[in-house]
Structure formats: structure tokens, C-alpha cells
Subunit: 315 residues, 2 copies
């Protein structure tokens, strides 16, 4: 019988080959990496737990893709060039079908971004738990976070917020027809790596939307010590949501998690070059000297979002 | 009620402060790190699962210590200077007593080695799963792994292999008296960081003993394409094991996991400076042009260790 270790080696070996910066990869106690001259390292770790971060019947290919996409989305927010990752995989059993699918989905996204798998640890546990740590390179001095937004900046969003949440709702409510576009956004989120790079030295603050647009905008407001007003009527409505209940669409757009779009601030006189990005960019609000996040409706009324965030569903 | 997030922030915030190389730490999508000029980065990830890698009733302080010690031991094997880490914590509930203890044990070891906690992810799951990724610095060109052992080298071991396994056996067998020294080695393994640094550019191969001495020596033999003969009578017997059953002691020394001692090869005419290391170093075998690991007994007979390794107990 083939051992768990051999199985994993079989399915992940082709990902272990690294570029010239991987001095030692899988097979030693440590991987050893060279950081290019003049660059700094951006790192992030994300964990997916079965039944918590994805439905139990999600295809293993999608789980593999998503496990890496979460981390690449963080690198995009930081404006880093993806370089390498490690994978800590806890599984109840060595299921060859699952491992093959997971590795295929993971590999598809890793290859698209030239990410080498340089280390990992596989352990047995009660439920599937996947921790991926990603690392990327960034020119020194170009670091950015959530804390640089200034009064007068505009707030921007990429893509169509709410698609992933709408897809999840359709699954959970066993909708008669599941919109393929929404499902794809839920299961195969596209990390906005090229956009993140393009915003380098340009965006004053950036975050990836994982908690929901209003909550993530609030993270920028708190870290930057500013207020943000979101113009609700300016939010880009996905074509897939155009004919749905308006209140629910609004909830999904403002509070839906798992979108992995970038929410960022730019000085008011600047706009990003959209050439070749493949995703729309929309200015959706303004930064002021106040605090917290407010929502301005069609009638011009501004409503502050409470301390607990804008949360009509979920927890 | 205090939220899980606030709890974790409270207990880990003091660890998040980093040195001059931590440009951005906890609080953004990515941490950003500077790698000192002329240095390369060594990284490793290790997962501990409750009930698998430590008994369920282990003190949370010890779990916190051990979660970091595993990674620091890998850095020691690579000869790296510990720098920073990330923590992915999956918990069934936000238990304040557990979190406080875990953070205290983790912090104690982190502070001793100047390791900054630069990022993390906390998630809810069925059972406690802890993945720690550590990173350290190493002068470029001084990388070493398992693959440099050459015929004529000697094999060395630090400390007293088998102590952790003997401690675990006493716990599992509900021994009338549990030896404190053995228990300490099991629950608070000391990563051999100073030794690993001292062996830089000196040891031809190095590994930390986590699978058991014979199995880990076999990893060196396989990676280096050499054979290794362990002189069983030369193994350093812990004073705590001196009066125990000789066969079991031998099993623990050769197959006991979790020791986190360093097993390394040096050219035959060289010996490491023991000054200030606080742990004995013992030459225990020789490297030849053959393959695999053999054990030479008091009577001079050499017995090859099978492909499945030297495993008299456990699995």
C-alpha cells in the first residue's frame, strides 16, 4: 500500500521545483530562499477549515485553488510579486482522490503566478485544516498597508463585490438554478495580483475584501485615523445580481465576505490605468477627517455603520 | 463578552513588536520584512495536532513552547539565526485559560531567541491544530542540508537521544513516578540553536532528530548517497535512563521521536568547540561509501536497519 507520505510527494513534487531564488526547497529541515537585491519580503498566512471556510462538498480542486488564492490576495493588497509558499495540511485520512484534486487546483493557480512550493508539513487530524503561508517580493520603500489613507482621497473597489456571498447564499438556500458566475467567484476567487502591483507607490492604503466591503473599509478608516463615506449608489452591481432583490444585493455588496477584491484609496486627482487588468475599477467613496464608515444613500442621507460592522446575515 | 479576536490580540500583542527588520508586522494583510544584506532566508513550517503530537492533557504553556521549539529546531539544523514567525491557530473555542497559557509558553521561548511574531490567522475548528512557520537568517553560501555527508565523515549527536520517548512512555504507561527530567525533555524540548550556528560552514550535513535517530540518520544517508554505521555502544545514555531496561533504552535512543537534538556529520579530523553550549556532543558513527544505516553492536556485528526504519514501538 502506498503511504501517505509517498502520495503527497507524488502529487506535490512537480510544484516543488523553484526558480533561481529557491536555494533549497522541499527535502531539508528548512527551505532556503534568496531575496532579490533591493527587495523586501511580504508574508501572510491563511487557514481554511472544512465546513467553516468552505462547504464540505466543495470540489477538492476548488479547495486547492482557494487555499492559495487567499494568500495571493493578501500579497496583492501589499503590492508584492508572489514568490513562494509553504503548505501545512491536516487530514483525517490520506484520500488519494482528494489529494490529487487538491494538488491540481493548487498547482493551477501556483503556476499562473510562478509560485514555488518550498516546504510543508502533513499531519493527521480530525478534520481537514489547510494553512498556506505565501511570500512575495516588493521593492524596498514601497511597502503599503491600511494606514495611509488621507482626507480627500477617494475609495476604490475592484470587480463586483457581493458575488461570492450571493453564490454561497444560492448554495445554502438550494436555489433551483445556481448562477455559474457567482459560484465561480465563490470557489475560484481571482487574486488581483496585477492590480496590486500596479498600485505600488500609488495607492495610499489597500486591503483585500475578505470580511465584507464595509468592514474592510472600516479597517482602513481605523488604521489610517480617518473617516470613509461609501456612496451606496456608486457600488458596481454585478450583472449576475441585476435582477435580484435589491435589499439582499445591497447586503451582499456591503457585507459579503470572500470576495478577494481589492479596496484601496488614491489621492483624488489620480486614477489607476485599467489597461489589461481584466477587472473594472470603481470609485465608491471619499475619505474625510472624521472616523468610521458611513453609507450615503440615494436621498443623500449618511448613516454611520455601527461598531459591530454592517452585518445583516452570517455572524 | 470579550471576543475571540480581542482575546488573541491581548495575549499575543506583546510578541508582535519586532526588531528593525520588521517593517510591518501584525495588522496589515501582509507582514513586510527586511532581510539583512548578504543573508539568505531559511524557513520551515510544523503543525501540532492535539491528541496526535501531544497528549490532550498537556499544559497549554508546554504546548505553546513546543509549537515554536519544533520550528526553531529546524532553523538550528539549517544553521540559521531565528528572526520571526507566523502562527496559524485553529481552536474549537476561545478558552481564555488555554490562550493565556499557550501565549505565555510561546512567548518565553520566542523572547529567549529574539523571535518576533509578525502574522497569524485564528480560525474555529473541531480540534486544536497549531501551525507555526519560522524564518531565520543565514550568511549566503553557508546553506547546508542533509546531502553533504562524505565517506570518512563522523556522525555526531547532541544531548541524550531517547529522553523524550522515555518520558512519553512513562506518561502512557501511567508509571508510578514520572521522571521530571524526561518529562521536561518531552514537553519543553530545547532547540539547539547555538550549536546549529556554531556548525555553520563546518558540518557537512545536519538534521534535527524528530523521527528517531536511526530514521533521521537514514535521511542523511539517502540524501547524501552514503552509508552510515552507528556504533550502538557509543550512544550517550541519559543518566535518567541508566537504570532502566536495556532493550527499551536502546529502542528509545534509536527510534524515539521528538528529541529535537541535532544529528550531524563532520570531517573525521574535526570536532566542534563545546564551550558554552550546555549540551554534550558525542561522535556515534562513521560514514562510508555504501548505503543505508547499519547498527554495530558490542560484539562487532553490523546489522542493516530495514527500509521501514528501526521501529520497535509506535508508528
Amino acid at each position: 500500500m502506498i503511504s501517505e507520505f509517498d502520495l503527497i510527494e507524488r502529487y506535490f513534487a512537480h510544484l516543488a521545483a523553484g526558480g533561481p531564488d529557491v536555494l533549497r526547497g522541499v527535502g531539508d529541515d528548512c527551505a532556503v530562499l534568496r531575496i532579490p537585491d533591493g527587495q523586501v519580503l511580504a508574508v501572510s498566512v491563511d487557514t481554511l477549515v472544512e465546513g467553516v471556510h468552505y462547504p464540505r462538498d466543495t470540489a477538492p480542486e476548488d479547495i486547492g485553488w482557494k487555499a492559495l488564492a487567499c494568500g495571493l490576495s493578501d500579497l496583492a493588497a501589499a503590492g508584492a510579486d508572489p514568490a513562494w509558499c509553504t503548505l501545512a495540511l491536516t487530514l483525517p485520512a490520506a484520500d488519494e482522490y482528494w489529494l490529487a484534486g487538491f494538488a491540481a487546483g493548487f498547482a493551477e493557480l501556483a503556476r499562473a503566478h510562478g509560485v514555488a512550493l518550498v516546504g510543508g508539513d502533513t499531519t493527521r487530524g480530525q478534520s481537514t485544516t489547510i494553512s498556506v503561508q505565501v511570500a512575495g517580493h516588493l521593492p524596498a520603500g514601497r511597502e503599503r498597508g491600511r494606514d495611509g489613507a488621507r482626507p480627500g482621497d477617494w475609495l476604490w473597489i475592484s470587480g463586483w463585490p457581493g458575488e461570492a456571498a450571493a453564490g454561497l447564499a444560492q448554495l445554502q438556500e438550494r436555489a433551483v438554478t445556481i448562477d455559474e458566475r457567482l459560484l465561480a467567484h465563490l470557489n475560484r476567487p481571482v487574486p488581483r495580483v496585477a492590480l496590486g502591483q500596479r498600485l505600488r507607490g500609488f495607492a495610499t492604503a489597500c486591503i483585500d475584501v475578505s470580511d465584507g466591503l464595509a468592514a474592510d473599509a472600516a479597517h482602513i478608516a481605523a488604521a489610517s485615523g480617518v473617516g470613509i463615506t461609501i456612496e451606496v449608489e456608486c457600488l458596481p452591481v454585478s450583472p449576475a445580481l441585476a435582477n435580484m432583490n435589491r435589499d439582499r444585493v445591497r447586503d451582499w455588496m456591503l457585507a459579503g465576505g470572500d470576495d478577494y477584491e481589492l479596496c484601496f484609496t488614491l489621492p483624488a486627482d489620480q486614477a489607476p490605468d485599467p489597461t489589461g487588468l481584466g477587472v473594472p475599477l470603481t470609485p465608491i467613496g471619499v475619505v474625510d477627517a472624521g472616523g468610521g464608515v458611513s453609507l450615503r444613500d440615494a436621498d443623500g442621507r449618511s448613516t454611520p455603520v455601527g461598531a459591530s460592522g454592517y452585518r445583516h446575515f452570517g455572524d
